[in-house]
Amino acid sequence: MSLAGMSNLYREVILDHSENPHHKQKLEKVTQDMTLKNPTCGDVIHLELLIQDDKIVDAAFTGEGCTISQASASMMTDVIIGKSCDQAIDMAHIFSDMVMGKTHSAADLEKLGDAAILSSVMQFPARIKCATLCWWALRKSLGEKSDD
């Protein structure tokens, strides 16, 4: 029995976000939205943004997914609200690098708030896509082209 090793991935804070996801709802007013699917498992996320003067005023998501994808979307919406579009894109890149195991400064990781805790997902390569799905939805809804 070695499920204890799972505690590295399924930290309390991740389980909390998954059980009680923040911003899991529809927005009344939406300026950008994006639906992305994870083709390996069929999980789907629909991200909605309200952007005013180049600033993310509100964000919310709906859809179905595993603990990691739900927690990641909850934590992402928490940290991107109030940020400029450029800041949000920058965070998405930091997050993507982080889960792929690339190093970042403590200051960079701090920008991610709770979401930085998902760095543990790099030990579970099969689950990286679960964590990054919502961030890809963000990048695409802000008009970024797929580049990696």
Partner: protein, 409 residues
Amino acid sequence: MDKIKQQIKDDFPILNQQIHDEPLVYLDSAATSQKPRAVIDGITQYYQTINANTHRSVYTLGQQATDQYEAARVKVAKFINAKLAEEIVFTKGTTDSLNLVAQSFGQSNIQAGDEIVITYMEHHSNLIPWQQLAIQKQAVLKYIKLTEDGQLDMADAEVKITDKTKIVAVAHASNVLGVTNDVKKLGQLAHEHNAVIVVDGAQSVPHFPVDVQDLDADFYAFSGHKMLGPMGIGVLYGKEQLLRAMPPYQYGGEMINFVEEYQSSWADIPLKFEAGTQNVVGAIVLGQAIDYLQSIGMDEIASYEHELVAYALPKLLAIDGLTIYGPKDPNLHNGVISFNIAGLHPHDVATAFDMDGVSVRAGHHCAQPLMKYLGVVATVRASFYLYNTKEDIDKLVQAIIDTKEFFKV
């Protein structure tokens, strides 16, 4: 089979290892089977002793490679009781075989308004080729429904298969629901309406005896890698007269008779469908995989797997919050068991099982229309083969208990 089951496990070197400090329990043979030592050694042996290109080399090695490649074809033909070795076309796998039928037979026989009948339990490989063909030809794609417990609804099959039907394409055994379909009866229905039946045998040929003449299948497709052979080799069986009438699927080396500047004529079957250098080692080693399976006996393998299912199903059904998709009666269920645990996503479950050394599949199993039909996003799937044991099932049950405990569900 009981006496030799430990010996069987020992024949598969990969199974003798630890995953996350736990002994590996491999329960994903529906995705791909593990390989016995004879098959692994056969690959080395081929490259160390007889590697040469087939059907075009006059020297000794070339002849040996050709002889062994053709001997493998004969072996495959006998294994599924084809009338002729020429009815066996080597392909990359089931997907390739089914695409061959759709592109060659389908392109030349389907017209606007014709109907193609498939089922809700098809793997994408026996679904998308027909869906796309139907779009191209403005044909109608129809789905046979399932019964409440996940079996094919034969009454609906009788309604869906009509005089407009040209092709009926169906899995012999489901890769999700654990059911075996009555393809003989479906073939009779298809033939009564002058349609052909195309059978996806990816989940059947590895697990129980298949006789294509008895089934009266027009086309029958399967993969080497799910039956102890290597990846990248598969088989399409087709009735002689059908294969003869079909145009080539791909053009190039070795599939020709004569080539002139502005026209060409084709080789006889089956080489007409084997353009370019083939996976010769794959075919030869698939023959060795068949030898291994026959040394145990397909009837024996089928009854042993049934014993595993009869042992597993009640234990799984007794677990609180566990839902099984497909029949609950072990007599109606083969060695593929799909399930979900209430409150848990299959991906989380599979990661947790992996920490216990248990390898299972989580996802949509390349059957998204079926998932939608069942009203689920994904499932966990455990699948058994001849090298699994009751101890493996005990470990699966323990992993479920551990996982429920970890996530407090």
